[in-house]
Symmetry: C2
Subunit: 293 residues, 2 copies
């Protein structure tokens, strides 16, 4: 069993980007610049945005952090988006989700210039992903694809079962794994809350991508020997063992599933750290006009 | 076994739209208007476009047919697209595919105003479909969904196997059938040329959507009793039995598979006629600003 070390891969990617940014600046090019917009005071969202901004600074990007109170109007938030679209110094930006209920999330995401949509949530980027055209792939799916690539995990002709059909992970993963590309070509089964007899699918899977947010859901009797397991779940579970009072639990009952696996991602330290590396990679692409001219 | 009569359903839809158009015009509203652009002299493409235009006229739409020779420049074709985008009388338009090799097909499709993209091929419409937002769904997948609906075929919790991952049918069908909507909620397996042991998937399927373009590919021993089979294949096979010298063959060996089915679409007369009904429905939506304001 090989443990997939997302933390290490993420650090390697960031180190390589830091070097590239140094070279770009030495060559007189513009410093890549990511902006992040946060609405309200949700603790989780604030932690994520702060981590993203810190990672940007670590690789030598310029960063801008824009905060709005939770009562900001949709109009004002849209104006922020338009300003960022029109600001030539900003290469890419993200609007941290979720947004307060009085704001139409899709309207805000669709207002982002697809060329600067480094989160890959704009319908144009989603559609281009489906159509196999250059696009920003959103952070978690892109992170998973990079892990499979780094560990040379064979996907062609394999049966990949994706559990969970969220717009952010499950749905794009099912699309990416089935595509006619070197890191795709799986026969993909997309399972979700309405799936009957889930075990009959997972037991026949060569690769399982578990993204439902239900702690320790995937048990040993649900998988076959030699399976590759990618655990996307990160649920905070109360714990007396840690100072913070909680522990991060994945969707996989790691202790019993891991011995049956050829490869498995741990939680924490698996998929999680890759999301930031993906965002940084997308922002670098934006700065280099690698996707859109 | 129930034979799904796509021809009848298509005619019913078109008759109902014809009535609605009469009412719209009687109420002083603008006549819906579809334009179709054809490049070159491909016989198949010409037949399709002519059929679409004729169907438009039958339901009372205005139609415009624009022809370019096969040596038309990309620039000139793009200019046609821009003109149609800016022509307020045109509600929707299609550029018949395939285009000659010297023209970048994606560039042309992306130049179409998504609001007028009644073929649903623009990445924005594809992305909005994935994200469960209002959009134009392309004609064949939309036609299949309407057939399942008209025949009250239960999809929730069923295992749907889609064979073929084309951008036009297989890929969007796999997305639509898995969605959390009344006509979705299937556990979906997307199979394709790289799939190993296809039979192990099809034998466990409640619904099979066959879209690979390989005549009589799906045999009786590949399906279980009571399966729903949707046959999207339409391959011209030489025949001495018909005046035209060819026969249309589906992807399903109908004679032997049909007796095992609860529902099956014939070829011809199943999915085929529905594509025109879908295009007409999308154009009516465009005229009524039903998707985009």
């Amino acid at each position: 069993m090989t443990l997939i070390d997302g933390k290490k891969i993420s650090q390697e990617i960031q180190a390589s980007i830091a070097q590239e940014v140094q070279n770009m600046i030495a060559a007189g090019k513009k410093q890549p610049h990511l902006a992040a917009v946060l609405v309200g005071n949700d603790g989780g969202s604030e932690t994520y945005v702060t981590a993203k901004i810190k990672a940007c600074e670590n690789v030598g990007f310029k960063s801008t952090f824009i905060r709005h109170p939770d009562y900001v109007t949709e109009e004002k938030l849209l104006q922020t988006v338009y300003d960022l679209n029109n600001n030539d110094d900003i290469d890419g930006f993200i609007v941290q989700l979720p947004l307060p209920r009085h704001i139409n999330e899709h309207k805000v995401l669709e207002a982002i210039d697809p060329k600067k949509d480094v989160d890959g949530f704009h319908p144009i980027n989603v559609g281009r992903m489906v159509l196999n055209l250059p696009c920003y792939v959103s952070a978690t799916p892109y992170g998973i694809v990079q892990l499979l690539e780094k560990y040379n995990i064979e996907t062609s002709g394999k049966h990949c079962v994706v559990i969970g059909r969220s717009h952010i992970v499950g749905s794009p993963m099912s699309i990416l794994m089935a595509k006619n590309t070197s890191l795709g070509n799986c026969t993909v089964t997309l399972c979700h809350s309405k799936t009957k007899d889930l075990k009959s699918f997972t037991q026949n899977a060569d690769i399982i991508i578990c993204a439902l947010g239900s702690p320790e859901f995937l048990k040993a009797d649900m998988v076959k020997d030699g399976v590759v397991v990618i655990d996307v779940g990160t649920t905070r579970v109360a714990s007396t063992e840690t100072k913070s009072g909680y522990k991060l639990k994945g969707d996989v009952k790691f202790d019993e599933v891991a011995p049956k696996c050829s490869y498995i991602t741990p939680v924490p330290g698996g998929v999680g750290p890759m999301t930031i590396a993906s965002l940084i990679k997308n922002t670098l692409s934006a700065a280099k006009k690698g996707i859109y001219k």
